[in-house]
């Protein structure tokens, strides 16, 4: 497999606001394991949620997250911004797992992934509604939503997805609007 094609072409990660990422430069095998274990434990659930907001079902999200975490550990010393790196890779992997590879990760997302009714039931009524509606959004809107509600600003997302910041804001607006309308149609949440 071509490594270059398999790895996201990240621009230098933008400085993150709020809680800054720590650059990890372990100087021993054990330090490396400990640092990665902390990253895994602190970030696993958010990462799975991120993939689910991209449109994956729970099982796929967990599989992709685990595979990508494994890759992250194998090259841990070379990753300066693990949180951003791993989200970029899972985005790529999620698209690749369901469809043919395209160069633009935004276009890789499946159009209409399925959420199993059983697993949706696991998350309660409110989660079920959002998880049902999210996959109905166009791929780019889903991607922008996943990044946004993971704490990334439009300018950061634009840089990561190689699009204009305004395009991110438009996608974000349209996605929120669609969710707002759909949720209102289904009742149960204020408009």
């Amino acid at each position: 497999m071509d490594e270059a094609a398999n790895s996201p072409q990240l621009k230098p990660a933008p400085p993150e606001r709020g809680r800054p990422e720590q650059t990890v430069r372990p100087d021993s095998e054990l330090d490396r394991s400990v640092a990665f274990a902390a990253f895994y434990r602190n970030g696993w659930h958010d990462l799975v949620a991120f993939v689910m907001w991209l449109g994956a079902n729970l099982q796929d999200a967990q599989n992709i997250a685990q595979e990508t975490m494994t890759r992250a550990y194998s090259r841990w010393e070379t990753i300066d911004h693990p949180k951003t790196w791993i989200r970029t890779v899972v985005s790529h992997e999620y698209g690749r797992s369901a469809f043919a590879v395209h160069d633009d990760p935004v276009d890789e997302l499946p159009e209409m992934p399925d959420h199993g009714s059983d697993e949706v039931a696991l998350f309660g009524q409110e989660q079920a509604r959002v998880l049902d509606i999210l996959p109905q959004l166009p791929p780019r809107q889903r991607q922008v939503m996943a990044w946004t509600y993971d704490g990334y600003a439009p300018a950061e997302i634009a840089e990561l997805l190689h699009v204009e910041p305004n395009a991110v804001r438009v996608s974000l607006y349209e996605a929120r609007q669609k969710l707002k309308e759909r949720l209102a149609e289904e009742g149960g949440r204020p408009t």
Binding site: A49, T70, E126, M145, D150, A153
Partner: protein, 232 residues
């Protein structure tokens, strides 16, 4: 999760934004209730360990036994140092440390497994590893401290036992070994035909004593006491 950031949140989306933010947070919380992370994390640490750590026997299958033994000595010392890191650096014995301990134990066991003289230690490590796994389920700092101390002791035992295995490097080419000091050469016997890694031959000669029939024995620090260092 960090708060979502949208510099231009329109007023009509304030409410849906808060709803989605809350929804996303609850999803993460629900996921946290669903699955323990220990299995996945340990699998990664182990898969990496087995991928990156070559099996000593396979790695040195075509090498003279002296090369294998000296290389194992070096690894055993590194393993003991590794296990001593949390102690010497004051790392917290948290849950996060446990998979790393399991991994370190696995590495130490791999080193020991294929040496007849070290089979007892490998057996001890086999017993220690499930104990460490158990700790990932219900960790207590005291248990971890105890497991770490045991692992450290076992790793030191391996290094000690390996030092007791006679190593005859007479005429053997040792130049491929990453040997930086004489520590792992304690008691190794050699001849003038033995080839050493670059830069260490002089040190070896200065720290060896003749034992007859053209053979010498490495005795770091001991040679000068007897004023009979190797003259080769």
């Amino acid at each position: 999760m960090n708060d979502p950031k949208d510099d231009d949140l329109p007023p009509e989306h304030v409410e849906i934004d808060a709803y989605l933010r809350d929804s996303r947070r609850k999803l993460t919380e629900r996921l946290a209730d669903e699955r323990s992370l220990d299995g996945g994390l340990t699998a990664i640490l182990h898969s990496d360990s087995s991928a990156s750590e070559q099996n000593p026997v396979r790695e040195w299958a075509d090498q003279p036994i002296a090369v294998m033994l000296i290389s194992l000595r070096i690894r055993a010392r590194a393993s003991a140092r590794d296990l001593d890191l949390p102690h010497s650096r004051g790392l917290d014995l948290t849950l996060d440390f446990t998979p790393a301990l399991v991994s370190a134990l696995a590495r130490a066991r791999d080193i020991a497994l294929d040496l007849d003289r070290a089979r007892d230690i490998a057996h001890d490590l086999d017993r220690a590893r499930p104990r460490a796994y158990d700790l990932t389920v219900s960790p207590r700092a005291s248990d971890l401290a105890s497991a770490l101390a045991s692992a450290r002791e076992l790793a030191s035992d391996i290094a000690h036992d390996l030092d007791q295995v006679p190593v005859d490097a007479s005429g053997v080419d040792l130049s491929s070994i990453d040997l930086r000091d004489l520590d792992a050469l304690q008691g190794v016997t050699w001849t003038i035909q033995t080839r050493w890694p670059a830069g260490i031959a002089g040190k070896v000669r200065a720290n060896s004593v003749p034992i007859g029939e053209g053979r010498y024995e490495v005795r770091p620090g001991g040679a000068t006491k007897h004023s009979s260092t190797a003259r080769v």
